[in-house]
């Protein structure tokens, strides 16, 4: 496994961090709510057999303030497309989780040549009034960790300031990640993705934590009904950010779906 390499690409004039690690065929990962303030065990699992490329979405940790010029869903979709191209992910297998999952699905739908195979982990993008998703932006501070993960400590570990972190800037970066998600998905998470699901031709795996408290499990069926040939797998003991709760199980399911490489 090669060492972790950090590079930067520009989207709309703003820098976006790109992490690369591992060897073997390339796969990309678009993270969920909170983004990636630090490297994860989940990414190490993937890097055992694959070259893992992880671009930061605009506004998320590593993605500076690129969200500030994205006003519409089209702006976001085109920014993500540029990001994938510049990160070297054109035509690669793609994993998208939570908010990143909605963009991964858009890529596969709008630019079918861009995504080889698709793994969606509790993606945003739909909303059902009869079974409303939880509002992630109307939570008391002490309720967020338990909403994001089955094991709240996993979320706390993600966002905890590392040694030497700037005590003013670190919390601002964490808020910025929430703002970037809100900018793209406020107020319901509904980007009308449903209309475009039928355009997805890439073989698609839908993964859902059985303890997801943000998006009801029934949303998996709605995605599967829209995407031809999509398969649903449940991740036991995992919350909304299942890659934090169950890194090995999620990586295993994704890698199996992406076989043979």
């Amino acid at each position: 496994m090669s060492e972790l390499k950090t590079t930067t690409v520009e989207v709309n004039g703003f820098p976006c961090r790109v992490w690369t690690k591992g060897s073997g065929p390339t796969l990309g990962f678009l993270a969920g709510l909170g983004g990636l303030p630090r490297w994860l065990p989940f990414l190490d699992e993937l890097a055992r057999t694959r070259t893992v490329i992880v671009p930061s979405l605009p506004g998320y940790p590593g993605g500076a303030t690129g969200h500030s010029v994205l006003d519409t869903h089209l702006d976001w979709v085109l920014a993500v497309r540029q990001l994938l191209d510049k990160a070297g992910l054109a035509g690669a297998d793609l994993i998208g989780a939570s908010v990143g999952g909605a963009f991964a699905a858009e890529m596969a739908a709008i630019f079918p040549g861009q995504v080889r195979r698709l793994a969606l982990l509790a993606p945003f993008g739909l909303f059902d009034e009869r079974e409303p998703a939880t509002d992630p932006w109307a939570q008391r501070r002490d309720a967020v960790a338990g909403l994001m993960c089955a094991d709240p400590a996993k979320w706390e570990a993600l966002v905890a300031p590392p040694d030497g972190a700037n005590s003013v800037e670190w919390p601002i970066e964490m808020v910025r990640a929430a703002e970037a998600a809100a900018r793209a998905f406020w107020p319901l998470g509904n980007t009308k993705l449903e209309k475009r699901l039928a355009l997805i031709a890439a073989p698609t795996l839908l993964l859902w934590g059985d303890k997801d408290r943000v998006l009801p499990a029934s949303y998996a069926a709605k995605f599967a009904a829209g995407i031809k040939g999509a398969r649903i797998e449940t991740v036991p003991g995992a919350g909304h950010l299942a890659y934090l709760d169950r890194p090995e199980a999620v990586a295993g399911a994704v890698l199996a779906h992406f076989q043979p490489g």
Partner: protein
């Protein structure tokens, strides 16, 4: 100085156990608590009170906008202002204000404010708040990350709609209109009605007000002691920008309860004050801070919005630190000024001079205060306090006050006679 009479229009019959049984006075307050037949009387009482304040000589009467809110029953302050325009004659009408990003297209605000200005003969003060998180992001579903940009663009559009003589096209980031040409146009057209900006304590807002030459208003529920740091910050910034200390650049909100004696004031105003600071500010903390609402510059400066503070009051973790929901703490904290006329005069003079504020907006009705008590408070203030504080800041010119048509040129509004309709 100017003494302005402000009404929030709180629902006055929230139950005693409201805080125990309900998570929030705002956003998801339960409909079962709202009795429209009681609200009929509340609205009419409140409008009587505003008209009474005009009658006894306040310089302005003020209304504001809230949504899904148990302490603010004015989703549309413009409806109230238009009625007040017909029922008052010389008093300025301060609509504090319309949250610009909530109107689609924002030219709706230019039109309605122009209507109020025309009906009232040029008495409008046009307030443009960004709006609270609860009103804008939660009740109205606006994107917190785009709210300020939308607000600023809407402001540009409204101002241009008021001042541009010819039909124009507006191609903005968020608003696209091919034919902007509002009818009616405001009476106050040199260049437009006075614009006042209620805001929190952000440096960006202060700079913007200075640049645009608008009045900055700090509408805090926490009184002059808590407001001192913010107003000092404002005046320091004005000095840096080379602006004078004209106290009419600023507005400030203050709760007051005046009676014959301090004890009588405590007897009269304890219940309504505790109702307000207890029940009305019982806001669920989860609605206080949508991500992106507070700019990063403001986060860096460590400035907390007023409603965040209010929400924290409802949060058991911080309640111990900020527990001013009983009258002693409310008064000690300066949230509400109470006392005899002499004592109130002294305190008002202190508030005005220490904050250097020429536009004092007074809340003389709050919480579940009855109409009788409100009128008593209002009358006593007008008779015994106002004449002894009006002299303040006499050397300064208020360049931000409405300039109505001359009295003789304005329409005479006949009083309504029900018998005519019945005949």
């Amino acid at each position: 100085m100017k003494l302005m009479w402000f009404h929030l229009m709180p629902y006055t019959e929230l139950p005693e156990d409201f805080n125990k049984k309900h998570p929030s006075v705002w956003v998801d307050i339960h409909s079962s608590l709202f009795d429209p037949r009681r609200a009929h009387h509340m609205y009419n009482d409140f409008m009587d009170e505003l008209e009474y304040a005009a009658e006894v000589g306040f310089d302005a009467i003020c209304v504001n906008e809230h949504h899904s809110n148990g302490y603010g029953l004015m989703p549309s302050p413009n409806l109230i202002a238009s009625s007040l325009a017909r029922r008052t004659t010389d008093t300025a009408l301060c609509v504090m204000g319309n949250s610009l990003a909530l109107y689609n297209p924002p030219t709706r605000v230019a039109e309605e404010f122009a209507m109020i200005d025309c009906i009232s003969g040029g008495r409008l003060i046009a307030g443009f708040p960004v709006g609270s998180p609860m009103d804008t992001c939660y009740a109205y579903g606006q994107n917190p990350s785009l709210l300020r940009e939308r607000y600023l663009e809407a402001h540009d559009l409204v101002k241009k709609a008021w001042t541009e003589k010819d039909t124009f096209a507006f191609s903005g980031r968020f608003n696209q209109q091919r034919y902007v040409n509002i009818w009616p146009r405001p009476i106050q057209n040199e260049p437009h009605p006075p614009i006042w900006i209620p805001g929190g304590g952000s440096v960006e807002t202060w700079r913007w007000c200075a640049e645009m030459d608008y009045v900055y208003c700090y509408l805090s529920y926490y009184g002059y002691k808590a407001g001192l740091a913010t107003m000092n910050g404002f005046w320091n910034e004005m000095e840096k920008l080379g602006k004078d200390r004209n106290p009419y650049r600023a507005g400030f909100l203050q709760f007051v309860g005046v009676a014959e004696s301090r004890q009588q004031a405590l007897d009269l105003y304890t219940e309504p004050a505790e109702y307000f600071y207890g029940r009305c500010l019982h806001v669920d903390a989860r609605f206080a801070l949508p991500p992106g609402y507070t700019t990063e510059a403001t986060q860096r400066a460590g400035i907390e919005g007023m409603m965040t503070k209010a929400a924290n009051l409802a949060n058991p973790a911080t309640k111990a630190a900020l527990k001013a929901t009983n009258m002693k703490d409310i008064v000690d904290g300066g949230y509400v000024i109470v006392g005899s006329p002499d004592e109130v005069v002294e305190q008002i003079r202190h508030v005005a001079t220490s904050l250097n504020v020429g536009h004092l907006m007074l809340l003389l009705q709050y919480g579940n205060m009855s109409k009788d008590t409100t009128k008593y408070n209002t009358r006593l203030f007008a008779e015994k306090v106002m004449p002894r504080v009006k002299d303040l800041f006499g050397d300064w010119e208020d360049k931000w006050w409405p300039k109505p048509m001359a009295r003789g040129q304005r329409a005479a509004v006949p009083s309504y006679r029900a018998s005519v309709a019945a005949e």
